[in-house]
């Protein structure tokens, strides 16, 4: 007869299984904590290896027989091609400064979510294969062979990193664990290991230009709906143009803002502003996606998907490009596009605002600016008429989306826009600007099956929102990333019910006074404006 354990014993059972070191503890794929496998059709579409039906929870992953050789050769190749990888493999002194900087570790306590150990997953194999010490005294120097359990661990933890780069900020050597994850995923892809929420969008984007695989006429339909809504709310009818050759500017939004709320409201705000400024711009139905899930797949895939931006800019003969409120899109544009697909086509020029005359020297090489830079410059020159009282009732805070904040330093422009439109409050210092906490759902992890992991990883962010919610009655979380706008609403519903999510241009759109508009009674969500009572009283 087995005796019941005491409650204080229960607390320890199964989280502390046999006292094995991290190197020998196998992973368990429990529903809610991992993402589903990519579908064979997606891999076939883009010519990726080993398309098949499989699941991470299966014993047999249906790998090619020589999978070890494929991965090790792949690693060797990349060590030669990317000097940064070689450096990252060699220089970590395991000082631990990064250990408690990852939101997945902070939310779970799982040591393998410490960035240093996440990187060690790859490093331990590197040591075994490519260092003398690793070959001679494996255990002592933390080297291990690439076995199937190790591979499963790679999959589990490389798809538990949102590539947010918060950890790299704290590493004295500048080791960027996100880049290690990127290489880890690239290697996994060599043997057909990836997730549906990355490969689905990648293949759809490759074929049809956006993550959901919506065709050009569907894209136009969505924009038309936005135009209709804007007319209902403001009385002003916008005249959009698609694929128009000779336009001055090509505007590239993340498709999330074209198809899904609350992103659509932010898109409406941008379209209204462009109209009001009389901007000569066009939309592309082929390049209907600024986002690039290739970033979460492999360098080559990222390059393939990114190529369409310049190609379309060239075809249409525009002078420069404005990109929408997207996160990872901007990491690709700001950090990789120039090297991957540059130099920019000859018809492109250094972006110059037609309204203020400002020349955006910072975009000299890419010829592409962020819509927040564009708008902030307009505000700075007093070119936009705003009535912030239309945002009455909204008390906002601002979430620095990881990529715009850490990968391009876009910190003050969105804040400047908020300053002009709405009452808002900063979250605590350790959780904003460069040190911002990730939404917990980036890099392809924002799928529904991964919900538990997302709530765990998003907790540090949500906890900071909770603070301003309690202190200042914050009820709106503004951000400039389409993935955030999809990921943060459930995060708020779990941790901070009552807090909604929006893009900064939604708030600008609410406040924007347009020529010829009717008396505004509703905000961009068709909710009654709260400043009306004041007007009546007056």
């Amino acid at each position: 007869m087995a005796k019941l354990p005491k409650p204080q014993e229960l607390t320890k059972i199964d989280f502390k299984p046999p006292e094995t070191s991290w190197m020998d503890t196998p992973v368990e794929f429990r529903p809610g904590t991992y993402s589903y496998a990519s579908k064979p059709e997606s891999l076939e579409m883009i010519g990726f290896p080993n398309p098949r039906i499989w699941s991470p929870a299966d014993e047999d992953w249906k790998l090619p027989e020589n999978w070890q050789t494929i991965i090790l050769d792949g690693l060797r190749d990349r060590l030669q091609r990317f000097r940064s990888l070689k450096v990252f493999m060699d220089i970590c002194v395991r000082c631990g400064a990064c250990a408690d900087k990852c939101h997945f570790f902070l939310g779970s306590g799982d040591p393998k979510n410490m960035p240093v150990l996440r990187a060690e997953l790859l490093r331990s194999v590197y040591r075994k294969e490519y260092t003398l010490a690793g070959k001679l005294m494996a255990k002592m120097v933390g080297a291990r062979e690439l076995t199937l359990p190790v591979l499963k661990e790679w999959f589990y933890y490389f798809f538990q990193c949102t590539e947010c780069r918060r950890c790299s900020l704290f590493c004295p050597y500048g080791i960027d664990t996100a880049e290690i994850t990127m290489i880890g995923r690239e290697l996994l892809n060599l043997v057909g290991l990836s997730i549906d929420w990355v490969m689905g969008p990648v293949s759809a984007c490759y074929m049809k230009g956006n993550h959901l695989g919506i065709q050009p006429h569907g894209v136009v339909d969505s924009f038309d709906m936005a135009v209709d809504d804007i007319e209902d709310i403001t009385g002003v009818r916008l005249d959009l143009s698609y694929n128009r050759k000779g336009a001055e500017i090509l505007y590239v939004p993340p498709s999330g803002d074209v198809f899904a709320t609350p992103g659509t409201y932010s898109l409406m705000g941008q379209l209204m502003l462009f109209h009001e400024m009389g901007l000569d711009y066009t939309l592309s139905t082929y390049n209907s996606e600024g986002g690039n899930f290739g970033l979460f797949t492999s360098n080559e895939m990222m390059k393939r998907l990114n190529a369409k931006i310049y190609a379309e800019a060239k075809r249409l003969g525009v002078k420069y490009i404005i990109g929408g409120e997207c996160g990872h899109m901007w990491r690709v544009l700001n950090q990789y596009m120039d090297t991957m697909n540059g130099p920019a086509p000859d018809n492109l020029e250094v972006p110059k605002s037609p309204v203020t005359g400002t020349v955006f020297e910072n975009a000299k090489s890419t010829k592409m600016i962020h819509v927040c830079e564009f708008t902030a410059d307009l505000l700075r020159h007093n070119k936009v008429k705003l009535d912030p009282s239309r945002n009455k009732g909204i008390i906002a805070t601002y979430h620095d989306s990881c990529n715009p904040a850490r990968a391009m330093g876009l910190l003050d422009e969105p804040r400047y826009i908020l300053d002009h439109c709405v009452e808002w409050y900063e979250m605590p210092e350790d959780t904003i600007r460069e040190k911002t906490f990730c939404c917990g759902s980036g890099a392809g992890l924002g799928n529904d099956e991964n919900m538990e992991m997302r709530m765990r990883g998003g907790f540090p962010r949500a906890n900071a929102v909770k603070f301003v919610k309690e202190r200042h009655n914050v009820n709106m979380l503004a951000c400039i990333c389409a993935i955030d706008r999809a990921a943060l609403p459930p995060l708020m519903r779990y941790w901070n019910p009552g807090v909604e999510v929006c893009g900064v241009h939604e708030l600008l759109g609410n406040a924007l006074v347009m020529k010829g508009e009717k008396k505004r009674e509703e905000n961009l969500r068709f909710e009654p404006l709260q400043n009306l009572d004041d007007e009546e009283e007056a």
Binding site: M114, D430, D448
Partner: protein, 186 residues
């Protein structure tokens, strides 16, 4: 509620809290311990600091009025956190019944000498049982919310695809099932 047990508990608040918190965070891997005990880092250690703060309030309440609403409020965050942490309910809730043992050990002498009447102990233990049941409600509610969020997301995606006439193409339920084997297992 003024009783001798409560008086003793208030005097030993710090000691009890320290030990009780240790029991609660023993649920996490050893490697996390040194980070989770930094309870003053409210924003950079949200799990440790939230659990600590709420346990602190719980203890104050347990050794005071034991107001139901306030107790509920302090439990809520702890269980919300634990419901997303790969923890079975038995482990997530174990810190509550464990408090009985803590009291028995901490006040062994006083109990033996009769300075703490049995009825007071019994009252506290009964309240802890009730709290454990409430905590189980909170844990399950959080889990339910998780599933609802999942369903909401599936629905939202489907709505978008339906609008674009892409439903049959994009949500291929057959591969969805095959590639997940989650639904089949459940």
């Amino acid at each position: 509620m003024s009783s001798s047990l409560n008086q003793f508990m208030r005097e030993k608040h710090g000691d009890l809290l320290r030990q009780w918190f240790e029991i609660a965070i023993a649920a996490y891997p050893d490697e996390a311990h040194k980070y989770f005990v930094k309870v003053n880092n409210e924003f950079t250690n949200p799990v440790g600091s939230n659990i600590y703060r709420n346990m602190d309030h719980l203890l104050t309440e347990l050794s005071g009025d034991r107001d139901a609403d306030r107790l509920y409020g302090h439990l809520e965050m702890i269980l919300k956190i634990r419901a997303v942490q790969d923890m079975k309910p038995s482990k997530a809730l174990a810190f509550l019944p464990s408090f009985k043992n803590l009291v028995r050990t901490e006040f062994k002498k006083e109990i033996q000498k009769g300075q703490i009447p049995y009825s007071e102990l019994d009252d506290l233990f009964t309240d802890l049982d009730t709290l454990a049941l409430i905590a189980f409600d909170l844990y399950s509610e959080s889990k339910e919310l998780l599933y609802n969020l999942r369903i909401a997301q599936i629905k939202e995606t489907n709505d978008i695809l339906q609008k674009a006439n892409l439903l049959n193409e994009a949500v291929d339920t057959s591969t969805f099932m095959r590639c997940s084997n989650y639904i089949e297992e459940e």
